[in-house]
């Protein structure tokens, strides 16, 4: 059975979709376990969307002046929570830990500045709209720059800007209120990260996930005073499914078929990007396991013996260097014999042992 997807609603910051028949290629073998797959897969997708997608968020704050009523730490924490536009952040930025710069540079961070002072007789709101993305100039060059890359070219026009900046429909994030004579001047470094490090890097504000709205499968039991059906309202998703008949017998082989998702993002990534990147991230996790399996245990994976190292390895015993009692078979390598491919001629590597002692018979330089 093929998995199906139906998007019920797609908005600027949310997507509502139904995942159907996510029981995978192996359905035929066991009905009971198909349930587990579907549930666990849907749950993995939810987890990965919430915690494993990279975004950018303010991570370091340097205070130049703060005469507001809030202490530095308080404001720094609030600044960290501000969602920043991080579309294509996967390619548009590197992790600071992977960058060769000393502290932060244009390849692994975004610099934002905030400089406000109140001169009027009214309370002034300092909001995320006051944050200005400032390219690294000459003033902070002493921090050293990382190895040059093409990351900045992959960023969008408003990469790193606070979400909803200068959008009249969106109310900005309030950071602090200041009165006349108070001032806030600071410099922020926004870095790339994932929500496993800190929740401020999560692109999602809420991911809801439901199956079996009528509780036909009895995966949960409702607490009630007199009657559970009266006291527990049905979710909207119940419209998608047949209500259970009164005389319906409990089917203990039944399995969930439909999974209702609602992914709501904080605006740093679009809902489409979150879902697609979530799937890609799951794949890359699995691919890493496959790769690690292939690397570590060739005998366990393929079920065949490990190839004889001595015969093929140019550096080990069969190779040119240290062994004196080598077989005289001309097993090849590059230039071992002139009539074997036009490649190496009678060149240095293979013939006569290459780097090895000249007294050796012509054995392989490299592998066979």
């Amino acid at each position: 059975m093929e998995p199906a997807v139906r998007i019920r609603q797609l908005g600027k910051d949310r997507v509502n979709f139904v995942l159907e028949n996510v029981d995978l290629a192996y359905v035929a073998s066991s009905l009971v376990f198909a349930l587990l797959i579907a549930c666990s897969f849907a749950n993995s997708l939810r987890r990965v969307m919430m915690a494993d997608l990279p975004t950018i968020a303010i991570d370091l704050v340097e205070f130049q002046a703060n005469t507001t009523v809030l202490p530095d730490e308080f404001i720094a924490h609030r600044l960290g929570m501000v969602p920043l536009l991080s579309s294509n952040c996967d390619e548009g930025m590197r992790y600071t830990r992977d960058c060769t710069c000393l502290a932060a540079c244009q390849y692994c961070s975004i610099q934002l500045k905030l400089d406000v002072a109140c001169h009027s007789n009214t309370t002034m709101d300092v909001t995320s709209n006051h944050l200005e993305v400032t390219p690294y100039g000459t003033d902070y060059n002493d921090m050293g720059e990382g190895e040059a890359g093409d990351e900045p070219s992959k960023r969008g026009e408003y990469f790193g800007h606070p979400v909803g900046k200068n959008d009249p429909d969106a109310s900005p994030v309030l950071l602090c209120k200041i009165r006349k004579g108070q001032e806030l001047r600071l410099r922020c470094i926004a870095k790339k990260g994932i929500a496993k490090e800190h929740a401020k890097w999560s692109p999602c504000s809420a991911v809801s996930f439901e199956y079996d709205p009528y509780n036909k499968l009895r995966h949960t039991s409702y607490w009630f005073e007199t009657d559970a059906r009266d006291e527990w309202p049905l979710s909207d998703n119940a419209k998608e499914e047949e209500p259970p008949r009164e005389d319906e017998v409990f089917d203990f082989n039944a399995q969930p078929r439909k999974f209702y998702f609602e992914v709501e993002t904080d605006g740093s990534l679009g809902p489409q990007e979150v879902v697609m990147q979530g799937l890609a991230e799951l794949q890359s996790k699995l691919a890493k396991i496959v790769l690690a399996l292939k690397k570590t245990e060739p005998d366990m994976v393929a079920g065949e013996p490990v190839p004889e190292v001595a015969a093929t390895d140019g550096w080990g015993n069969g190779g040119g260097w240290n062994s004196t009692n080598q077989p005289a078979t001309n097993t090849g390598g590059w230039g071992a014999s002139p009539n074997r491919g036009g490649g190496g001629g009678g060149g240095g590597w293979g013939s006569g042992g290459g780097w090895a002692s000249p007294s050796q018979p012509a054995t392989a330089g490299w592998n066979v």
Partner: protein, 149 residues
């Protein structure tokens, strides 16, 4: 400040292997895989996929301690394939499914692209509601202020 870096919970150290396999000495065709820097997201998914394989007799996973970023995956097969092959098959099958799903999503999103703006979050265009209570519109008194000396 000797706290370890947070990213050490999900990034492999230099030279650290993503996976360690230990064959079980007492049970035939069984192995334990220690999968490093991964959590329930992968563990539960792999376990479920392994269980759907008819040649797998047992599959289970555990996170031995929540502070240690790894999980253990125990697999026993009926002998027709080694446990590592079963695990590899499970991974490739999942990748295939996700691939199909990705295609479906791509198609669905392309259909929905048009009304993305229209179906967006509803904005109350009437009275601008102020989540911060007043928006600082009230003056303290235009004439006098303790800062006016």
């Amino acid at each position: 400040m000797n706290a370890p870096n947070r990213y050490e919970l999900f990034v492999l150290d230099d030279g650290e292997k993503a996976l360690e396999a230990t064959e079980d000495t007492k049970i035939p065709n069984a192995a334990t895989f220690k999968i490093v820097k991964q959590d329930h997201t992968l563990g539960n998914m792999l376990r479920a996929q392994l269980l759907s394989d008819p040649s797998v007799l047992f599959a289970g996973y555990k996170v031995p301690h929540p502070l240690n970023p790894h999980f253990l995956l125990k697999v026993q097969t009926d002998g027709s394939i080694p446990p590592a092959t079963a695990l590899e098959n499970a991974c490739t099958r999942l990748i295939t499914t996700i691939n199909t799903l990705e295609g479906r999503f791509k198609r669905e999103f392309s259909f929905k692209d048009v009304d993305a703006g229209a179906a967006g979050p509803t904005v109350n265009l009437g009275v601008p509601d102020d989540p911060y209570g007043g928006g600082g519109a009230t003056a303290w008194g235009a004439q006098r202020d303790y800062l006016d000396f």
